[in-house]
Structures are given as C-alpha cells and as structure tokens.
Symmetry: C2
Subunit: 322 residues, 2 copies
C-alpha cells in the first residue's frame, strides 16, 4: 500500500515494471516512498494476474552423485541470473514424475527441469496432459512439451574405446547402470567402436550408478575373465571399481588394468584415483536448458552437448610410449 505515499497504484505498478512508461518525476516519487516504507512489490498477485510465476521447478534425485549436485549448483545459479527462482522437489523415478509435476502445477511453475529420463510413452503422455513444459537432462521419450538436452554419450564412448585400445587394452570390460537410455547409448558407442577395431566381445557387469555398484560390478567382471581395460558409464562407479581392483584383487592401475569413467566429478582428479574421464560442460548444458525454456515450438531432436576427454593416469600405460 505504498500508494498512500503519492499517487495511483497504476503508477506504482508501472515503476516496478521494466518496460513501462513513467515520467522521471513520477518514478522518483514512487521510489522515494518505497524506500521510506521499505516497500517491495508482492509477487504473488502478479503471478495470479499474469499466469507466469518465473519459478522453474527441478525434480531430481540421486544427490549422492556429485555430478547431479554439480549440475544442480550451476542450474540454481544460472536460473537466478536469469531472474528466475528454483523450486526443488525430490523424485527418484520418472514414474513418479507426473504426480510431482501436477502438484507443482498448482504453484503455476513455468516449467520443470529434471535429470530423470522419461522412459515410456505413457509417462510422456501423462506429462504432456499437464500442459507444463518439461526439459529433461537425459535421453528418452520427447515430443510435445517435453524437450531434452543430453550429453553426447555415443561419440564420447567411442572415443573411450579408442583410447583404451591405444593405451594397450586387449581384453575389455564395461560397467554400466540399470537399463536406461544413457546407459544404452554409452554401451553402444563403446561396443561399436570396439567392433570397428575388430574386438567383438567384452565382459559386462551392471552396477547401480554408485560406488558400491561399481565395486561389485568390477568383481563380477573379473569372475568372468581377466579384463585389462574397463570403461565405466560413470565416474562414481569407476572409483568403486578402482578400489575393488586395487584392494580386493591386488592389481595395479594402470599397469595391470586401464580404466575410464564419465562425468569428471571432483573426486576423479584426487591423486589416489587420477581417473581418465569425460567432462560434461555443465555451464553449456545449463545454458542449453535455459534456452529451451524460452522455446515453444516442439523440439525436433534433443540438443547434444559434446563431452571432452580428460586423460589422466588410469589410461596412460607405459606400453603406449614404447
């Protein structure tokens, strides 16, 4: 009610609306009054009047994975720079997504961003029915209001196969996660490149995206044979695998076993691990997400963000130099 201190509410509204026409005199009066009263316009009625909240919801889970929390941090910062607020909800599976989104809809959030993969057409349909734009940071079903920004896993994974071969790998292993689009893309990219190079077989084990999963998967891999070059679909699992290989199996890395991950989480560069991996350009990913938030026309294809190879000690076997 800052309008007691000057003129009409229209004037106040206009001074606080970016591109409105107010005379300098008017604006000055209003600003002075606002400062005196410590007045700040309430955003709630604005949302009601305009239908836009400037709130972006993020539905995420897996906070144990530094990759997700890194993305979350970049996202929360860039959203704020873009003048938007973030509402955060915890969601473990895409199956729960439509429930979460419909709840969020009641707050009139402008869009939902999620690292979850939308795995089925039925979930996608339920989501589209809610009429809220969704940007997923994962491969999966898209179309309608669902858009995707993904890491270019196939290209990177082919590169991994290449590097492991060059570094002297001869018996390959792959540690993946539960069935999911990214899991499949990474394994395919890896397998294809291997087969181009004449390697048509490799051991595989499925972990759970986390450290323990990688630890167990590595042991399984060695029950099947004696791989000397392992590609893991994410760093956290790779670190678990490294520990299993070193402490449980008593093998050396990279001398006995080469290993690579994906994500470039902070721990991967700790000297104990010094893991070769692919860096996902988080700012680029988030920028792409923000750009998608502005778009309205259905997306033709997911935006692919290239990942860059980070070579560290786990792939630098001396034979390479020899």
């Amino acid at each position: 009610m800052a309008r007691l201190a000057g003129v009409s509410q229209s004037a106040v509204s206009r001074t606080f609306t970016p591109g409105a026409s107010v005379s300098p005199v008017m604006r000055e009066k209003v600003v002075a009054a606002a400062a005196a009263l410590g007045y700040q316009p309430n955003l709630i009625p604005r949302i009601m009047a305009t239908g836009r909240s400037e709130i972006i919801a993020v539905a995420a889970g897996g906070f144990y994975n530094p990759y997700f929390t890194d993305i979350l941090e970049v996202l929360v910062q860039m959203l704020r720079d873009a003048g938007k607020q973030m509402m955060l909800v915890h969601t473990e599976s895409d199956l729960a997504l439509d429930g979460v989104v419909s709840e969020l809809a009641r707050y009139r959030v402008d869009a939902v961003v999620t690292p979850l993969s939308i795995r089925s057409r039925s979930v996608a349909d339920a989501l589209n029915a809610l009429r809220i734009p969704i940007v997923t940071l994962n491969a999966g079903v898209t179309g309608g209001l669902i858009r995707a920004v993904i890491s270019d896993s196939e290209t990177a994974s082919a590169r991994a196969a290449q590097l492991l071969c060059r570094a002297g790998g001869t018996r390959f292993g792959y540690i993946g996660g539960p069935e999911s689009p990214q899991q499949n893309l990474r394994e395919q990219g890896f397998a294809r490149q291997l087969s181009i190079r004449g390697v048509h077989e490799y051991a595989r084990a499925i972990g759970n995206f986390d450290y323990d999963g990688g630890y167990r998967a590595a042991l399984q891999l060695f029950e099947q044979g004696r791989p000397d070059a392992i590609y893991c679909m994410n760093d956290l699992a790779a670190l678990g695998a490294m520990d299993a290989i070193r402490s449980r199996l008593g093998l050396r890395i990279p001398e006995d076993v080469l290993i690579m991950g994906y994500d470039n989480i902070a721990m991967s560069q700790w000297p104990t691990y010094d893991l070769s991996t692919f860096d996902q350009d988080k700012p680029a990913i988030v920028r792409a997400v923000l750009a998608q938030l502005g778009e309205t026309a259905p997306q033709l294809a997911p935006i692919r963000i290239p990942a860059s190879l980070i070579e560290r000690r786990t792939t630098s076997r001396s034979t390479e130099v020899a």
Copy 2:
C-alpha cells in the same frame, strides 16, 4: 471454475480445505466434477488470501561438500512429507543473506533455512528487520526471528581428542577451516580435552573445508613437526590430508599417523580411506529444523544434536591392542 459443475465456490473451497465442514454428498459432487474437469485448486490465490505460502526457502552454498547435499536431500524430502515446498537459492556467504532473503520475501516464503552461519550482529539485525523466520544449521548470532539447530561439536571434538590419545597419539595436529563459529567450537573442544590430558600444544593448519585445503594443510602441519594424530574439522579436508600424508609424505595410516574427521560423508567409508569420524544424524537435525519452523517464541538457546562416533581404521593402531 469447477463451480459450473455443481454449486457455490465456497463449497469447492471447503472440500479442498482439510478441516472444513462439508456434507459427504456435497464433497462427492465436487470431487466428481473436479475429476471430470481435471481441476486442481490454484495455490497462488490461496497464498494471497491467507498470507501463507507453505514454501520454505533454503539458502545454501558449498554443494561440493557431500555433507551439505546430504542435508539438502533429507530436507527436501522431509519438507515435502510435511506438505511444504522448497525454494532453493544459492548463497555463498552470510553477508549476502539479507539481500537473498528480502528477494525471497516477495514470494511470501514462510521461512528460510540455511546452513550458513550468521556471523555478525549487523547481519542478524538486517535479517530480523525483514520479518521472516530463519533457521540456521550453524552456530552464530541468534535471537529475534533467527533460530539455530547445530551439531554438538564441542562434545564430539573432546571425544576425538580422547580417542586419538587412547589409540596412541602423542604429537597432535588440527586441521580447521576459515574463522567461523563451528570451526572455533571444534577446535576448542579438541584443545580443551587435550589439555585436560596434559597436552598443551598441538600443531594447527587452516584449510578451506574442501579436499585441496585439507591436502595443503596436512603438508603445512608436517612442515611444523611430525604429528602422529590429526583431527580435521570435516571429512572432506581429512580425505585430502590422508592423500597428502600417503602419497606426498609416504607415511602410513594408521601406523604412522592417526586421523579423524567430522560429518561421515559417503566417501569416508570407502575402503581406501576408512576414516574414523562423527556421524551427524541428518534426519534428527532436519526434524529439529522442522520443529523450529513451527515455533514462534524467540529461541532461548540453539538446539544441539549429538553426533555419534564412528570408529574406523584410521584410528585403530595396533599399539592400542598391545
């Protein structure tokens, strides 16, 4: 406008208000109509009418520290269970807090939760002036609308000194973080217990709460002397210290150096580290925060949540058994 499908808006409002008096018949009619139209009450006008948003804001930084993201995860889940939403904003320093909170105020958030320590009276005053309840997960200035829920650092740190002595430590070291209330409490608790045990000197080095800080601090510690028992104010720094001690200094843990941390982050139990530490009971902490959100009377003293000792290999020297 589900009211086209039955009766008055008051009736609709009542069916969607938990403790309201509606006849089963009425409720049935409304629910049916809502289901048919896919109607869900818009929460924005409700906020405007009631003044309560059921939104709790969280102002946090330091996502690189798993302790914070663990707390965040528990918080986001429990808030939801309590029927509230979380708005997340990134904030590195308490100095920025009043700016952030006043911005949040425009969304009519019910309260702000932050792991940041409110270090000065002037920041506290500025915050109180905004008339928004604040719960900090850290020691510091409280009073007015500012409440605190903290880990009982002093007791735990005394316990650390005790354990390191019993395990055979004779020359002590402490790795802390930048000046902050928790840093001081942990160092004091540790130092006091040492001095009770007749140890009046210890080496100290200041890191930066993170891995690199701990790594460098450990090296500094060993430039000052040759400590054989080190207490770190948090796990992340302890892990950095462990790597420095092992790879750079070539010493063994626990044979040559005992070490302890605080927080019990996931990585501390990885076999490579197997770090003794203090577990902060995150659900208990968050429950206490939620309880504080309901309180209105000024808080007399910060709520202290005990931390429990987790003994692992880094403090189990064989001399202990001897």
